[in-house]
């Protein structure tokens, strides 16, 4: 599903982050709109403070 090493550790600032769920994005793990035409929509991750986020498939 992902071309990145698994799991992926990110430090994300407070705010909303759109994560790709369709696996078409060229900018994984973020959504870049490539999901157009698929039944997938990005996942909104809303953080109230800077957090470390680990993404694994």
């Amino acid at each position: 599903m992902t071309t990145h090493a698994n799991p992926q550790l990110l430090t994300l600032n407070a705010g909303t982050h759109w994560l790709c769920t369709c696996s078409q994005s060229k900018n994984k793990p973020y959504c870049d709109g490539s999901h157009q035409g698929t039944p997938f929509t990005p996942l909104a991750l809303e953080l109230e403070a800077t957090k470390q986020v680990e993404i694994s498939s």
Binding site: P7, T11, L45, V53, E54, I55, S56
Partner: protein, 157 residues
């Protein structure tokens, strides 16, 4: 897809701890520290007042000289005991006050050495000043405890 969200590692958490778990009861310990601090403060204040009011400073200087200590030390030790005692009672920079008072008690312990160890011996054995000296080191390691003034002086961040 699985997301695991963790708090940022804080400076406090990443700082190496000497002991993995607290070995004291954090609910009651601050009051124990305060009790020690106020007791030590009262003792120092009483001894300082005794030197100034009862023996008077020249008298204390003479007494120091009779023990083979520099007489001028009286003019340093008595104010240190008075101010230090008040600062301990107020909980103001407890650690550093306790550390500053420690050498006074080392000298006191030393001067009581010839009297034997038992505190009830004539002129007082060394066990009491020695224990007193240890207590100041303990206070240095403990800090202010509850109701200390140092914390109120710190600017809110």
């Amino acid at each position: 897809m699985k997301l695991t969200i963790r708090d940022m590692p804080t400076a406090a958490a990443s700082r190496p701890r000497r002991l993995a778990k607290p070995t004291i009861d954090l609910d009651t310990a601050p009051y124990a520290i305060t009790l020690l601090r106020v007791s030590l403060g009262l003792l120092f204040l009483a001894h300082g007042l005794l030197k100034v009011m009862v023996f008077t400073l020249p008298g204390t200087a003479q007494f120091f000289a009779s023990l083979g200590l520099p007489a001028g030390m009286a003019y340093v030790v008595a104010p240190m005991e008075l101010i230090g005692g008040l600062m301990l009672m107020a909980g103001l920079y407890t650690r550093w006050v306790a550390l500053a008072l420690f050498p006074i008690l080392l000298v006191a312990t030393y001067t009581h050495l010839p009297n034997g160890w038992l505190f009830a011996h004539e002129n007082g054995g060394w066990e009491f000043p020695a224990f007193f000296a240890v207590a100041t080191v303990v206070q240095f390691l403990l800090g202010d405890g509850a109701y200390g003034l140092t914390q109120r002086l710190r600017l809110p961040r």
